[in-house]
Amino acid sequence: MVDHGIGKPMYRLEDVRLLQGQGQFMDDLNPLPNIHHVAILRSPYPHARIKAIRTDKAALVPGVKGVITGSMVASLSRPFPVGVTAPVKYYSLAVDKVRFVGEPVAVVVAKNRYIAEDALEKIEVEYEPLPAVVDIERAMEEDAPLLHEEVGSNIANQRTFHYGDVEKAFQEADYTISHKFLFPKYSATPMETYGVIANYEKSTNSYTVWANFHGPFTLHSVMAAALQVPGNKLRIITPKDNGGSYGIKAGIYPYVVLMAIASRVAGVPVKWIEDRQEHLAASSSGTDRVTYIEAAFNKDGTVTALKMKMIDNVGGYIRAPEPACLYRNHSNAVGPYRIRNLYMEAYAVMTNKCPTGLIRGYGGQEHYFPIERTMQMIAEKLGMDPAEVIRKNLIRADEFPYKTPSGGIYDSGDYHKAFELLLQVGKYHELREYQKKAKADGKLFGIGLACIVEPSGSNMGYITMALTPEERAKSLPKSGCAEAATVMIDPSGSISVRISTTPSGQGHETVAAQIVGEVLGVNPRDVQVVAELDTLTSPWSVASGSYSSRFAPIGSSAIYQAAQKVRQKLLKIASGILSTSEEDLDLSQGKVVVKGNPEKSVSIKRLAGLSHWHPQGLSEGVEPGIFETAYYTVHTANPPDKNEFVNSSVTYGFVADLVAVEVDPDTGEVKILDYYTVHDAGKLLNPLIVDGQIYGGLVHGLGGALYEELSYDKNGQFLAGTFMDYLCPTATEIPPIHIHHIETPSPFTPLGAKGLGEGNCMSTPAAIANAVADATDCIIDNLPLSPNRVWNLLQKKRQEQEKVYIRGDH
């Protein structure tokens, strides 16, 4: 049992069903009779006016129950609310205009998916194509094609922030450096696509929806608002198993509304399982971002100030929770460095690409790519070792909790210790020696470093940074980050737990059982965990869900607190029975025992039985039944203040990466030789799961660095519509990965844990880019580092060198 406690690498409970084909994923559900199937007609144009839609022929196809178009959606729903002041009208189906390739234009409800697709081919749409824009900066120009006439500009949101005295720091610095970086649009492509079952009940005007949605449940109110019903008339139930998301499935909510309407119009329950082409073209993705960065630094390598102008491409419609990508890292904008002066300018721009949303690392990869590249460029400029520049700037262990210039409160850490561990396990100095030899032999060998702060447990208030302090003051202050859990014991004494963290593979059931098992002194394998969230019966909050690595810091804390409540209750009941004070009792092996006298005990089964069968026998003041819910939040999550300070997350981990690469000069191919990553995420709850999260995040980061991009041509045509052109890394692309940990517990969570599922998505693209820059002596400011891109850079360098050589000859 000890092996199964908190912090132990217990094998997962979920595996038992998943390895036998008994998972219950979205498409496996058939909760209602007479479910019909949906196919969606999508725009082939990046930007066009819809002049007419003719659906009569489609409606006549045998088996078709209904065809839904934009006008119906406009009459049965309202545009989705979004946290910016720009009046963007975003409906779940195109109304009048399409603004990206793949945008839903019409819906067919039919007996099965085959017939629904047959009927789609019979819908005739007359489009008037309009000029499109996909380039971020072009979209900001006055004469650029305008997506939303009522907004009057493609800029959906714009803010500037000053912290410290940036101008003074720049004036006083020995050196400054500036560069423009571009981070590409990419996705996470979970293997299970979006899926929704929706049923409209006319008699009560209410909707019941099953969807592999995983929050944030702030979006529940967004959906309810669009459907114009109170929250309790939109019941959302999540399936037991969710086939991966990495943030992407938060973007399912427009389809929840669309299917709700489709069910209402067609008069039958409907099921829609997104196909892979739909998913790639039109689900959700990270933003592509242009960053102009300027750094001020001294000749010893100390960085004194940063200026960043960040422009996010949020696609055809800005949709909630965007523009959050710009602000998610607001508090940790300076990363792990002691930089006190910070200027940030943030823009959310709409272009004719698919709308964006959550993705593993949300904003971190876009943010740390320019910063970590700049740290290396500073080293190059000063002729210093990049490791030395990092050392010079890392926050010291004695400075925690550390307040960042933008209001973040870094809870704990020992960045120097973790960084030195990285250099030691990665044999940094030996690698540098080897590099000298390798380069002398003409090899393009490089080493990349990256250090980042990994925020976890978002404070929903950060999203309101998109508004000015004056605008914020007009509405309710926002700081939500609470999570809830329920622990109950039935009359037979068996324990179950209900969680609202909507896992999608992170093993929440296992860790919940580990926590409850340890607190209540039972075998975790005897604890039943229910992870399905039902908005009418589960305990949940606006912040519930699976995102911002919030299970470890917050979700697990709620479970722990609920278990503690049950523990207290059991002790209280037992205290009466055993005539011993609660302080002298303990829980162990399914029993409450008297400390120091284990012979004297009473079983949980007995205690639970009593509370159910004979409540009158309980001591006075003890409620019958054992059913305890706890909500947990962290006191450092506060609304942004009028000075624009905000603590956007409740815990902050640290990640330090070292990667060695060799670039093939003939093909531009980047070969990763070794990857070392050191994490400090506080107390680890299950090391097996922890390392699994790190491997997965790292490989996703590697995908972003080398392979994955949702490419569009300059006219807005989408080019990566299959898994032949959107390249996910496979087993043959994976380098040796070495994971190490240090643990400095968070003082803000009862178990000392922090999140860690996203760190390498943030750090890996930067680390690999640094390594490739180091190997090739080329400036890397754009990703992914495809062979063609790297080869182009090498060609350019060769040509420049030839020019220099020829000039030198004269």
């Binding site: 697709e117 093909t667 392979y707 080019l719 032949m724 043959t732 692309e733």
Partner: protein, 291 residues
Amino acid sequence: MKPPLFDYYKPETVDQALELLQEYGINGKIIAGGQSMMPILNMRLSTPELLIDISGLQELSYIRVEDGFLKIGALTRQRDVELSPLVREACPLLSEAIPYIGHMQTRNRGTFGGSLAHADPTAEIPMTLLALDAQAVIRSASDQRLVKMEDFFLTYLTTDLMPEEMLTEVQIPLNEMPKGYAFTEFSRRHGDFALVAAACLLDVDKDGHITSGRLVLGGVDSVPLAVHEAVEAMIGSVLTEELLEHSVEEAIRFLEPESDLHASSEFRKHLAKVFAMKAIRTAYQRAQNRE
């Protein structure tokens, strides 16, 4: 992504299949292993009136050596060719090329003839067969003909096969099979369509002089492209890096590959040079080792 409606006929003999083709010709579409055809159907890029499923024609699944040829039935699974000791012995170039096709799971189903008839210009089997100077046995209800690979490929996904015809067998000449061989390719990930691929056959005499050779490139044109000059120009010489680079550069000078998402025309052309050289180098070394 579900297939459209089609009539489905499944002949039990080659003759039945040929009769169906004679009758339905252009409106019928053959499906064999389906590893290219099924994605096209699922995406509804093809809406054939009639699908003629020849996957049950066991008589077209065989590998044998006969009359100086390695003969492979059109419906032999790629995986069976890959694992065949006979192929490895008689035609190592083919054994080297096949594992580059997709993945084990698609080679288990994909057929040898299907890949050839699909005629993707980057596909391994068409390229290799062109390098091997193979010929296709093509049958119709009324006729049977042999077509050399150099005459088989017309353009993207288009071959000399007429609507009423069916590919039944591939014949690879084994007489004078060069000792040196190499297949190499460059792709974004393992198992992806090659950006550029090269197949080389080459022979040397005992002093290391090149006596004959063939080179085929994939991914640089609308068909697998024979650029035998790259090797032929070096006949009589011992291979040196300088000579190799020169003759390959000369041979591919005229190439104008298409650009796409993964590689520009310029990059493809560069890769063509790099991988042609690589293939020749390896083939030369192997020829020398076996000499």
